[in-house]
């Protein structure tokens, strides 16, 4: 799915090409990411959605080469950031990119702050490491940042420990750390999942504003289509480690092409539904990632599958600018006369 959203000529900010990640475990080889490709321009926002275990987190952590100490992991493909392949950098070079040019908000934010270090120090430390700022300068900038992300009375709260902050405020601190060095790319893994709805809206608005102010690109990983609609220009749908569909966000809701995307859209109770409307679950379970998958990974659950689907893996089919769907029926489905403008409303 390369080329999506790229202006001819200018190299994109991020280019992920045929990225595959597998873990060698006692239970066998787990293919956590399988053939992921996408590009991202400066200032652009990409949403990554999919069920639990579909590879959203691993796919994004491998951009930063963040793996567990004891993981026996194999990564293939290329991750080009401003033309440099991050997979080939030395560990020292990589540690400059992490938190410097690429910021990250982790899936479990409430535990990723150091509980015994004052909140302000945690932001200042990252600043000093990446910008070489003096202690005083880092402190001043930290207070500005905490203020910017909406921590009231930032100068005084600088010295407090994380436990005296509410969940929403800790998440703001995580945002402050992630954007402290004005990264060109921010990866936010489920940035609002643990938060209440009004606080979620505040954090999403903050991310959106920071993105506009600093021109940073954003990858938002979520299972919530509402979050995608509110933050992303384009969206990538993953299933069983593979990219299924990649399209502009408005296409997702108007003309989703892939049967899996359609299925996902029908799963969620939504406001566009009338109350008490029946949901239509996708029958069956996702495949085990330890077993080789010859065809389309969604084939066993797909109600549209044809013979070919089980035998051969469908390549991404280009359906328009920035719209790709990895389905053997993609073109046929795109031509549907009665293309529903609300796929979840289908009978």
């Amino acid at each position: 799915m390369t080329g999506a959203g790229t202006e001819a000529g200018a190299p994109p900010l991020l280019e992920v090409e045929d990225l595959s990640v597998s873990f060698n475990t006692r239970r066998g080889v787990v293919r956590a990411v399988d053939g992921l490709s996408y590009t991202l321009d400066r200032g652009e926002a990409l949403g990554i959605v999919g069920e639990s275990g579909s590879g959203k987190t691993v796919g994004s952590l491998s951009i930063l080469r963040l793996f567990g100490l004891f993981d026996d992991v194999t990564v293939t493909g290329a991750v080009r950031f401003e033309g440099r392949d991050l997979l080939r950098l030395s560990e020292t070079e990589m540690s400059r990119v992490r938190g410097g040019q690429i910021g990250m908000i982790f899936q479990d934010p409430l535990t990723s702050l150091n509980p015994v270090m004052p909140v302000g120090e945690q932001v200042a430390e990252s600043l000093r490491f990446h910008t070489g700022a003096s202690r005083d300068a880092a402190r001043r900038r930290t207070v500005e940042l905490l203020d910017r992300v909406g921590i009231p009375d930032a100068a005084n709260r600088y010295h407090e420990l994380p436990h005296s902050f509410s969940g929403g405020m800790r998440q703001r601190v995580m945002v402050a750390i992630a954007v402290a060095c004005e990264p060109k790319l921010l990866i936010a893994d489920e940035p609002t999942t643990a938060l209440d709805v009004t606080v979620q809206a505040q954090i999403l608005l903050l991310l959106d504003e920071l993105r506009r102010e600093m021109g940073m690109a954003l990858i938002v990983i979520t299972h919530d289509f509402g979050v995608v609609a509110a933050t992303a220009d384009r969206v990538l749908v993953m299933y069983a480690a593979q990219p299924m569909e990649h399209c502009p966000t408005d296409h997702l809701f108007q003309r989703a092409n892939h049967p899996y995307t359609e299925g996902l859209l029908r799963l969620v109770p939504r406001f566009e539904h009338r109350a008490h409307k029946r949901l239509r679950p996708i029958e069956g379970q996702p495949p085990a990632l330890t077993e080789p998958i010859a065809g389309c990974p969604f084939e066993p659950r797909c109600t549209h599958a044809v013979d070919r689907c089980a035998a051969e893996r469908p390549p991404p089919v280009r359906l328009g600018p920035s719209h790709h769907s990895a389905c053997w029926l993609a073109e046929e489905r795109a031509r549907r006369e009665t293309a529903p403008d609300k796929p979840w409303e289908q009978p």
Partner: protein, 341 residues
């Protein structure tokens, strides 16, 4: 109210914080649930939803107020009568696995309430368990499995089957789908909707996801910082939210359409800042620290009482109630809520 399954009046529950400071977690809440009705309770974390539900079953003691459950005043019951009443009011919890005994098999777990309360002999029990398994869509061959051998959705079905086996009058569901993945969540929501339609059971359904609450509930109550700030029939609440906080909540439901940015800005305006601490609650209206319409007098002095929204009443007690000094003057927000199709 007579004939109500649950009727709560001016309930107050106090706790002590870990350093011994007393605080009020539920502050003068009233609510009624009729037979077969599903009451949705929403509000942000820590606002007292679970405490209210537990106090309604007297699993948590309350300091004042009155609770009538299945026609009985809890204050008049002794321990034995209370336990007998509670078995007709089971709970379903957020974490399906954590609420199932890992050493028992599925059949035993589901039949346990019958055994504990001595409601059926062994043979009847097994027949009843299999009947419940069928009702909640658990294949018969899972009877001998242990919880770890089940998927998350199957585990939650076991919890639901166990809750329903005593032919309850009221089922309390505390965030029953929050911990489940989207595809499993859809199955469980459908199951709960089916059960709501098929059985004559009332549900108290607690959730923080408003779209989920709307999907299942007949009436919805909105709590904020220990108080019930608004209560109305489901479509009325979502189409015409009156309390500024409810308006913020409804606006914060992210739609799968465009206009996300404007929506976020609207929430920011209606619900700015952080939720205050229960240990140091604001004077007057609980919402005054975040409310764009708050005035010094009366909002910061007087606690607003629940008022019936004129014109919204479509029968005896099916009214729309709101606790806000300024509700009548507050403009309807442009939350772009198209009526459901």
């Amino acid at each position: 109210m007579t004939g109500e399954v649950l009727s709560v009046r001016d309930l107050v529950v106090r706790y002590r914080s870990h350093d011994g400071q007393p605080f009020t977690a539920v502050n003068g809440v009233s609510l009624d649930i009729g037979p077969g009705e599903t009451f949705g309770l929403v509000g942000e974390t820590g606002c007292g939803k679970s405490t209210l539900a537990r106090a309604a079953l007297k699993l948590t003691p309350f300091q004042s107020g009155q609770v009538r459950l299945l026609g009985r005043d809890l204050a008049e019951l002794d321990g034995r009568e209370l336990r007998k009443l509670r078995r007709r009011c089971p709970m379903i919890f957020q974490d399906p696995r954590g609420s199932l005994d890992p050493r028992m098999n599925v059949g035993r777990i589901i039949g346990e309430p019958l055994r504990v309360h001595d409601l059926a002999g062994r043979r009847d029990r097994e027949a009843k368990v299999r009947e419940m398994m069928e009702l909640v869509g658990l294949p018969d061959e899972l009877f001998d499995r242990r919880p770890v051998q089940l998927s998350g959705g199957q585990q939650q079905r076991v919890g639901i089957a166990r809750a329903l086996i005593t032919e309850p009058g009221l089922v309390v569901c505390d965030e029953p789908v929050s911990a489940l993945d989207v595809s499993i969540r859809a199955q469980i929501l459908n199951l709960l909707a089916d059960l709501r339609d098929r059985l004559e059971v009332a549900f108290l359904f607690i959730a923080h996801d408003l779209a989920v609450v709307r999907h299942l509930s007949d009436r919805v109550g909105v709590m904020y910082l220990g108080r019930m700030v608004e209560e109305a029939p489901v479509e009325d609440l979502f189409a015409h939210p009156r309390h500024p906080y409810t308006q913020g909540l409804v606006a914060a439901i992210l739609h799968a359409d465009t206009g996300g940015h404007e929506r976020l800005q609207l929430v920011e305006r209606l619900a700015a800042g952080e939720i205050p601490s229960l240990l140091d609650p604001p004077a007057g209206c609980a919402y005054q620290t975040r409310c764009p319409y708050a005035t010094d007098d009366p909002c910061r002095i007087v606690v607003p009482a629940a008022e019936v929204v004129a014109g919204a009443a479509d029968g005896e007690d099916r009214s729309h109630r709101v606790a806000c000094h300024h509700w009548a003057e507050i403009p309807a927000p442009a939350t772009t809520l198209e009526p459901g199709r």
